[in-house]
Amino acid sequence: MFQDILITGLVNGGVYALLAVGFSLIFGVARIVNIAHTAFYMLAAYCFYMLLVQYELHFAIAAPLAVIAVTAFSVLCYRLVIEPLREHESAVLIATIALALIFQEAMLIKFGGNYLGIPSTLDGVAVLAGVTIPYQRILILVVAAAALIGTWLMLYKTRLGLAIRSTANDLEVANLMGMNVHRVAMATVAISVGLASVAGVVVAPVFVVDPLMWLSPLVTMLAIVVLGGLGSLKGSLIGALIIGYVEAITVFALPQGAFLKGAVALSIMVVVLLARPEGLFGVVFEEER
């Protein structure tokens, strides 16, 4: 049982981390609470389904294509919808909710409400320490780790990363130093949604694809991000693992209450917030006066 918890929690935590890190990034840089974040994850899953199952493209072509298409689309959405509203924080918020609803309804009209399945990229199972894990899940873990390491390298080893981090630190000063903060924000949107679409593509073959699939990870993701501290990448990563493990432990310790795992995870978040209102790794930033 112990090894089950260890491995299940790790795999689930990996997927959550992909979502949470992207969300945290865009919040840190542009102060956008992007409710549509997981809706992009859903779009990526549908896009992957369309390319792989309907157009019968090879996996190695369909997956990158889906990620690129959704990322490009997100930049377009940002330019057309979010950028004109940037001064009005509350308007940005419901604009992202409206976008998410539009995506959901568009997919419902295009693909119907059926649950769709995507064939596994890798078939078969591995048995690790007595725990059965399908290869697909190991793939998820590997891809998640690679994407996260890639993001980390990008943030800490490139000039763009430096620009993103400094904009997140202080938008006004970054602007005064001659950085094009709009460009930086746009690049961050692309990276953030890129991570979400990678998650959508690798997860789609394990989960069920349907127009409402963005709602439940949304809540989990928000809980993780708040738990870890808004805008903190390290916090999101650790928060994701905590929630992944809490969910796994709930299922094993309380089998009849498996449906409560979401509520338990949220309660953990509330408890952490009570003790540390800025989350585990959040920085207390002075509210702008």
Binding site: D4, Y115, V208, A258, F259, G262
Partner: protein, 201 residues
């Protein structure tokens, strides 16, 4: 034959992942997973059980597995998943197969339990004609005595106004997914039934 209940797991109907539950079930050494599932979790359970090559068999009710789209939704992983269903290409009554054909021709998919409304409407129509009234007080005694040969079975009602359940009356049909086909296997002695299959290992 003696059976033990090794555990009870209640995933959320919207769960997208039941890995933790399934590993716990594996650990508990279950042979049969008696499913009571409605909602997308039915697809997830079917698929993930297949992917894990679980030795336990899913048997019970899984609304998603009644639908034609189940095989596609599970990406063909849900072999041997069994569920109770309402319609199939078997002669439960002489009306079953014609109804099944007509339904498919019109809606381009097989009927699931919701199509049972067809029989219900016919019962109420017959009752209204017989009683010559639409008042519930007059309809109840008529329906109490009625024996209606419907599309899914022969419907009669007991003292508590529940349908009488059992072979020859109304039972539902047990079906199993076998290589992309929904195969009916129960109740026995009905024309068109095929054998139940066990995972071959």
């Amino acid at each position: 034959m003696k059976m033990d209940v090794v555990g009870l797991w209640q995933p959320s109907p919207n769960a997208t992942d039941v890995t933790a539950e399934l590993s716990a079930i594996d650990r508990a050494g279950a042979d049969i997973v008696f499913t009571l599932l409605s909602g997308p979790v039915g697809v997830v359970v079917g698929r993930q059980m297949g992917e894990r090559n679980m030795k336990a068999i899913a048997f019970g009710i899984n609304v998603e597995a009644q639908k034609d789209a189940f095989w596609q939704a599970t990406a063909g992983k849900a072999n041997y998943v069994a569920t109770i269903d309402t319609f199939a290409d078997v002669e439960m009554t002489p009306k079953t197969i014609p109804f099944q054909k007509a339904f498919k021709a019109r809606y381009k998919k097989s009927p699931i339990y919701t199509a049972g409304t067809y029989d219900a409407l016919h019962i109420i129509k017959d009752a209204i004609e017989k009683a010559g009234s639409t008042e519930s007080e007059k309809l109840v005694p008529v329906i109490e005595k009625m024996s209606h040969v419907g599309t899914a079975g022969t419907l009669e009602f007991d003292k508590r106004h529940d349908p009488v359940w059992g072979p020859g009356k109304s039972t539902g049909i047990a079906v199993q997914w076998q290589n992309g086909e929904q195969v009916p296997f129960w109740p026995p002695n009905v024309k068109g039934m095929k054998p139940f299959k066990m995972p071959g290992k």
